[in-house]
């Protein structure tokens, strides 16, 4: 069943149009991937889904409801979470305080405590370093903190913009291991990645964008079987 749909989205900044009539459907409980070369419109698509920009045309629907003009915090309240490509932690706050900031929508203290305990169980290193400022964490630990922070709202759908960026291969594996676990537990994931092979290894369904338009949709196996990847990344002359 479609949990989130972006329907014929056209969006951009100032005078320039980045997304042109792009549609994607995210099925509940699945990992959906979006790939494409630099400038394809991947991050803009995520921003329109999160409400950071208002599309010029088209619609975003969550469980069938039109949320195109809903403010970001209302979308989060409805169960969508977002992890940006750039670092988004509060460096001078402790690990625990960062998690607490993530739980600003959660009023019930017992629920907050339970969720924090669950996050510390999932990421023991965060429990170990709970009283240290986030600035002291390594790149991989910060990614875990960012994932942990959005888990404080117990989201049904997590939108991730390049979770592998800036991480060593071993840490990428570890982050993806956690993402797989979340998906296995029923959380829906929408992941934009430049590390295409990594994403294809975990995604149930993948969309490829090119120059702000839909180029391909299908399973990772179907994508790999076509020549689309070489064309997307190396141009029309590629094999």
């Amino acid at each position: 069943m479609a949990q989130l749909e972006a329907v014929a989205l056209t969006a951009g900044y100032g005078g320039s149009t980045i997304l042109n009539n792009v549609s994607i459907t995210i099925a509940s409980g699945c990992i959906t991937g979006v790939i494409g070369p630099n400038g394809a419109g991947k991050s803009t698509l995520l921003k329109a889904i999160m409400g950071y920009i208002v599309p010029r045309a088209g619609a975003v629907r969550l469980d069938g409801d039109d949320i195109t003009r809903l403010p970001t915090h209302e979308r989060i309240r409805r169960g969508i979470a977002y992890i940006a490509q750039t670092r988004s932690h509060f460096p001078s706050q402790t690990v625990q305080e960062n998690l607490r900031i993530g739980a600003y929508l959660v009023r019930d203290r017992a629920v907050r405590a339970a969720r924090q305990a669950e996050i510390f169980r999932r990421f023991p290193i965060l429990a170990e370093r709970r009283r240290q400022p986030a600035a002291l964490l390594s790149g991989g630990q910060l990614r875990m903190l960012e994932i942990g922070r959005v888990l404080m709202t117990s989201p049904r759908l997590i939108v991730l913009d390049e979770p592998s960026v800036g991480l060593s291969p071993a840490l990428v594996d570890m982050v993806y291991g956690h993402l797989r676990e979340l998906a296995a537990g029923g959380t829906t994931l929408l992941i934009v990645e430049q590390n295409v092979r990594k994403l294809l290894a975990v995604a149930d369904f993948v969309y490829a964008l090119e120059n702000g338009a839909n180029r391909f949709e299908g399973t990772p196996q179907a994508l790999t079987a076509t020549g689309v990847l070489a064309n997307l990344y190396l141009g029309a002359g590629a094999a």
């Binding site: 400038g39 430049q194 092979r197 190396l234």
Partner: protein, 245 residues
Amino acid sequence: MPNNVTASPILEVIGVSKRFGGVLAVDQVSFNVAAGSAVGLIGPNGAGKTTLFNLLSGFESADDGTIRFAGSPIERSFPHRIARLGIGRTFQSVRVFASMSVRENLRVAHMYGRNAGSSHFDERAAEILSFVGLTRLGEAMAGSLSYGQRKLVELGMVLITDPSLILLDEPVAGVNPALINEIARLLLELLGRGLTLLVVEHNLPFVTGVCQDIIVMANGRLLVRGGGSDVQRDPQVLEAFLGAA
């Protein structure tokens, strides 16, 4: 066949490395650029392309290796000295003085160029504004121009330093298709005038249209070098762009 082997190199990069903390951003990279050629430098994000540009233009200094421009070592030189030797560069995110006119932007760049002492600024500026198609916008504030026009101002600023080698960092990123073709035409014309170009760009059709000779970097290293179609058909190049599973 790229002409880098036979023609005399204007730029020689020999075993250059740069480390940031635990990350080896540029790892033992060596290549030559022949005078009068256009070389494309491509690779996935994080390959080390911009770091290499920063080393070539003096914004960073190499931890190891030698960089020679027209025979002189420059790996310990400052950006203004390198500009005066004849290397110009543009930036990935366009850098112009927003509250100065286009012509004033050229004047600032001129002060740091090879011909800084010359009194022919006005003639040269007029010529360059005409070349990049900004004659009518010479008195406009650079900040009031479109992104694409500011890219052209930046190219004009490089040209007025009278470089023999231009390093272009993503010259068409964020630029509309019509202007992409125009920038390709300008670069080919500069090449025809004998300038040497080193172009970092993600837009493969653009880079293979301007450069017959392509260097592919991945993980800080030089992966392969060859003609556009060789590189496009090389499976290890595709794997580098797609990342490791």
